[in-house]
């Protein structure tokens, strides 16, 4: 067989006539029968549908969306950005967990992370600024939805889920705030915990439960750590799943205005 140039090879592969790796049993066990990864992609309405249908993305996106919803100026991609930031925070957060102990060693671990771990400082910065950004983006997403009146029937309940997600985002950010275990962290959390203690009737109990004691100690650090890396992510993922599911069940994107 004559040797093909790169361009010819690409043409052949993208036209779906390629054999070899893509036709192997291994590849066909991964990709579903209609998948463009299996049979090649040439631009046609049918293949455009197959891209979504034979992909895990089908859980998020329908095959077709309203034309006005595609415009960036309508959603500003804020909901998607919130989700994307959550994924970035999860990945960087898992990475940070390798270098962090929620004990009296916490502060030293952060110092070591910044000084002697490759990319440690960068990843920590990404996690922190990403978290602030996520709070901001979630809030902007809520405002966008309000100004478009997108919470109206049949989307009332999804708005409620969204408000819960906003609060979970705040809790996630707040519990993470303590973890560097520096003066900024402990006193910000002390102020926040004192606010919670003004709750009528149960104020003292709520603060005690939150701090695992009367004031912020390493016991509080462990408690916030577990809440931050396990409890709230677990809860927020459940609510996000319901949120995304309802977006589609309630008829996709709202509008047009």
């Amino acid at each position: 067989m004559a040797k093909l140039t790169l361009k010819e090879r690409f043409k052949k592969v993208s036209a779906g006539s390629g054999d070899g790796a893509r036709a192997s049993k291994f590849a066909t066990s991964i990709f579903r029968p209609g998948s463009p990864f299996r049979k090649g992609y040439s631009d046609s309405p049918r293949n455009r549908s197959y891209v979504v249908m034979n992909n895990v993305l089908y859980h998020l996106h329908p095959v077709k969306v309203k034309r006005h919803g595609v415009r960036l100026s309508y959603t500003l991609c804020l909901g998607g950005m919130s989700f994307f930031l959550f994924i970035v925070l999860t990945i960087t957060g898992i990475w940070l967990m390798f270098y962090f102990r929620p004990t009296e060693m916490a502060y030293a671990d952060i110092q070591a992370l910044q000084t002697s771990v490759a990319f440690g400082s960068l990843v920590r910065n990404m996690h922190r600024w990403g978290a602030h950004l996520m709070v901001l983006v979630v809030f902007l997403h809520m405002s966008r939805v309000f100004y478009h009146g997108a919470y109206k029937a049949p989307r009332e309940f999804n708005w409620v889920i969204g408000v819960i997600l906003l609060f979970l985002t705040l809790f996630l950010s707040f519990t993470g705030y303590l973890l560097p275990w520096d003066q900024l962290a402990i006193w910000a959390v002390t102020v926040g915990g004192n606010m919670a203690s003004y709750t009528p009737v149960f104020g003292a109990q709520i603060k005690f439960g939150l701090f695992a004691g009367l004031e912020a100690t390493t016991a509080t650090l462990l408690r916030f750590y577990v809440l931050h890396v396990l409890f709230f992510p677990f809860i927020i993922v459940i609510f996000m799943a319901i949120h995304f599911w309802r977006v589609r069940k309630d008829g996709g994107i709202s509008g047009p205005l």
């Binding site: 996106h61 998607g80 110092q111 600024w129 100004y147 003066q183 900024l184 402990i186 709750t199």
Partner: protein
């Protein structure tokens, strides 16, 4: 020619024979192309029945095997009768007027059905585009842009890390994270039970969650929901103002400071400002 099954051919021949008043064999022969097709004009048939003369009433019989060239002649003959027929009977013998001739009536009116679909479409068809590439491509691009922005931001700005936590040294002022600073600012005005609990819990959580159940206005056009938009913008401005005051304008003892005179009393921002 396509082979038509015999039983189907027979069935349609029977139907044709019945309609034209010819024998089944004749119809069958015509359909197979063995004899010339019977041509029948509807008009003369009906008129013939209406003719007052009994002799003419027998007219359907000769229709049985008309030739093609016969048809125009037959059609012509009753034509003058057509114009004449309805008038005379009406004049002298009204009871003989036959508006619904019994011969050759193959349908009758059962009921009048209004012209509307049996099934109602649930929604109007909307203009849609394929998710791939029209949605997924912009999504991917904005995702990459966000990632680039975050990495560049993280490379430039160092996250703050102050001295190790020490419960015995209280910084002055002690500030909450920025998203709670509006609340902390409100706490300095009002009773803590109101500002610290009622605002975040009642207004923040319950009030916000209840918005779609309070606002029953179905319109989503901004010009038709001015009150709702005004209220939300009011909240946004209030929360934003309180937060900015809390972050930038509050110093030691929670006293009013100007960031351009007294500096910024918010450690989370320190490294943003003084980062070299």
């Amino acid at each position: 020619m396509v082979d038509i099954p015999e039983h189907l051919l027979l069935r349609s021949a029977e139907a044709r024979a019945k309609a034209l008043g010819i024998t089944v064999e004749q119809a069958l022969a015509e359909m197979k192309g063995e004899s010339a097709p019977t041509v029948v004009d509807d008009e003369p048939e009906v008129i013939e029945v209406d003719l007052p003369t009994p002799v003419e009433a027998e007219a359907p019989a000769p229709v049985e095997t008309p030739k093609v060239e016969e048809a125009p002649v037959k059609a012509e003959a009753p034509a003058p009768a057509k114009a004449a027929t309805p008038a005379p009977p009406k004049a002298d013998t009204p009871e003989e007027v036959d508006f619904a001739p019994e011969v050759k009536v193959t349908q009758r009116l059962l009921t009048v059905v209004k012209a509307k679909p049996i099934q109602k479409a649930a929604s109007e068809p909307v203009d849609k585009v394929n998710t791939w590439p029209h949605l997924m491509l912009p999504e991917f691009i904005s995702l990459m842009a966000m990632m680039a922005f975050l990495i560049i931001l993280s490379a430039i700005l160092q996250a703050p890390l102050l001295e190790e936590a020490n419960p015995n040294i209280t910084p002055n002022p002690a500030k909450a994270p920025w998203y709670f600073l509006g609340l902390q600012e409100a706490l300095s005005y009002w009773d803590p039970q109101i500002a610290g609990v009622m605002i975040p819990l009642v207004i923040g959580l319950i009030g916000f969650a209840a918005i779609p159940y309070i606002d029953r206005n179905k319109e989503n056009n901004p010009s038709k929901r001015k009150y709702a938009i005004m209220m939300y913008t009011f909240f946004l401005a209030g929360a934003g103002t309180l937060t900015i005051i809390g972050v930038l304008f509050r110093g030691p003892g929670w006293n009013w400071t100007y960031p351009w005179i007294d500096g910024i009393w918010f450690d989370d921002l320190l490294d943003w400002i003084y980062f070299e």
